[in-house]
């Protein structure tokens, strides 16, 4: 505690010094803005901070040497795309200080981050972009060992390839079961895009097979569009079991690849369990996650409601009406960076306006989308009324083809912006 007083005194002194000093000197005297997590949110934010203020010291903490992107990974597991198309390196980050270590703890009071090797570094402001952790305490039977048999494939990489290989090894006539969680979770239309592309694979390679979606919800993103497309492209192949028909999986048995619901047991040849999720571990340790497991934020600055000087963006944040998507993460990152850069310079952050666009592929060359525009309202990010919505239910194939092409190009554009 005496240290704290000394620290605050020190901070005040360095602020006073900063007023007199040239920006370069100020930048050296002041601890960096630290960003934890090099995904769509964190990498975008670190980049945007540097773009906003060249003199700001920005540190990005990310232990992995490559990033494996989730958008389009459903195409990988359906055999339509190589995993290399999902792989991005962290070698284009210019003068952003990249620390390739895991952050293990945050001391919000002293404004310090501890790394796995025991060193700790101070920050002027911290941006947490930890993505999601899969909850291995939420679904009996689904623990860390179970993922080797019943892959989640909800983080791209080895899990994506495992699910792809299981599908490839499955005999024709097999049953694939996909278990989808209750809201909120990463990528709301993701399970249904996945079901669509698996169905495409089954239809073309194993036509006597079947796909069952066991869902903990009674409604899902772009539902009418997906269902209409399934009817048209994959008649009789996909069975969606909603919550009210006993879709919620309450237990799994990896040894027998059995999924248990309140209405009975389902035995799968390939089981893809997308478990409930929460904000990534560092958010829990920093004390910015609430009892829901997610992080409440101020919608203007993305500053945590629970800890000062810590901002949370991307999937980990409670984004109000904004979905947990790569597009949202990137848009939030840039808005958050503007707020952080303003706050560091002791200026008033501007009211942001955000956009999200999520594409889903129902089949190769068949894309659909949902879009929204958001602004802070009543302490949350709320949808601007009269804007946004999904692709039209009735549209010629040319529109679906165009949206599939836009989806591909969106991915190319955003990954080039985020990873260089």
């Amino acid at each position: 505690m005496p240290n704290r007083r000394a620290l605050i005194g020190g901070a005040a002194a360095s602020v006073a010094a900063a007023v007199l000093a040239a920006p370069q000197v100020r930048a050296q005297a002041q601890p960096p803005v630290i960003v934890i997590g090099g995904g769509f949110a964190g990498a975008s934010c670190a980049r945007a901070l540097k773009q906003l203020d060249r003199d700001l010291a920005v540190t990005l903490i990310e232990p992995e040497t490559v990033y494996l992107a989730c958008p389009f990974s459903n195409a990988v597991l359906a055999g339509l795309r190589g995993i290399e198309a999902q792989t991005f390196r962290y070698d284009q980050f210019g003068d952003i200080g990249l620390i390739r270590k895991r952050a293990v703890a945050v001391d919000a009071e002293r404004r310090r981050v501890r790394l796995e090797d025991g060193t700790d570094i101070g920050y002027v402001r911290l941006v947490l972009a930890p993505g999601v952790d899969l909850r291995f305490d939420a679904l009996p039977g689904y623990d860390e060992a179970a993922v080797a048999i019943m892959p989640h494939a909800w983080k791209a990489g080895a899990q994506t390839l495992l699910l792809r290989d299981q599908l490839a090894a499955m005999p024709d006539g097999g049953v694939v079961i996909l278990s989808a969680p209750a809201n909120p979770f990463r990528c709301p239309p993701g399970p249904y895009e996945r079901a669509s592309l698996i169905a495409h694979y089954l239809k073309t390679s194993k036509p006597r097979s079947k796909l069952i979606i066991l869902d903990a919800k009674d409604a899902f993103s772009k539902q009418r569009l997906f269902e209409a497309a399934w009817q048209e492209l994959y008649p009789g192949l996909i069975e969606w079991v909603p919550l009210s028909s006993g879709g919620r999986v309450t237990e799994v048995d990896p040894a027998t690849r059995t999924l248990v619901t309140e209405f009975g047991n389902h035995k799968a040849d390939v089981a893809n369990v997308i478990p409930p999720q929460r904000a990534g571990g560092i958010a829990q340790s920093a004390g910015v996650a609430d009892q829901t497991g997610w992080c409440p934020i101020d919608p203007v600055t993305f500053e945590s409601r629970l800890q000062p000087a810590i901002h949370v963006i991307g999937d980990a944040a409670i984004g109000g009406a904004m979905p947990k998507s790569a597009f949202s993460a990137n848009a939030q990152a840039k808005a958050c960076a503007a707020a952080v850069a303003a706050l560091v310079r002791e200026r008033q952050p501007a009211q942001p306006k955000l956009i999200n666009t999520c594409y889903s592929l129902v089949a190769p060359g068949y894309g659909i989308s949902i879009a929204g525009v958001y602004r802070p309202r009543d302490g949350l990010l709320a949808e601007v009324e009269g804007a946004g919505g999904t692709s039209p239910l009735e549209a010629p194939l040319s529109v679906r083809e165009l949206e599939a092409a836009y989806a591909e190009d969106w991915f190319r554009t955003i990954t080039s912006e985020v990873f260089g």
């Binding site: 945007a48 848009a331 601007v384 836009y406 554009t413 912006e417």
Partner: protein
């Protein structure tokens, strides 16, 4: 992006460090990004540099008036779109104008690069 673009943007950045220290102190080296109108930075999530050769048109080199007119046409439905009609309706005329003015600035000011 290409290594050529990379060099170009690095050169531009290099130039910025010669801004007189006194001036930099006054404006806190405020670059164009700091002036981004609300919503503007989200555009580049889809609309990249022209060099990317995307089917989604680049916004590079468009005059502000042109962007405002296109957004108006999206809003009214006069110009057919897949998503831009849904997005354009989320912005007022005034907001659109501010975004367009920012987007019309030189390329290096807009695309996020370290």
């Amino acid at each position: 992006m290409t290594s050529h673009d990379m060099r170009r943007s690095k050169n531009r950045r290099g130039g910025r460090s010669f801004v007189p220290v006194l001036l930099a102190g006054l404006v806190a080296s405020a670059p164009a990004w700091a002036d981004a109108a609300p919503g503007a930075t989200a555009c580049t999530g889809c609309h990249g540099p022209a060099a990317l050769g995307s089917a989604i048109p680049s916004l590079d080199g468009h005059a502000a008036d042109d962007i405002v007119a296109q957004m108006q046409a999206f809003r009214s439905g006069e110009r057919k779109a897949t998503v831009m009609d849904r997005i354009a309706r989320g912005f007022t005329e005034e907001e659109t104008r501010a975004i367009a003015e920012w987007l019309a600035k030189p390329e290096a000011a807009r695309h996020a690069q370290p």
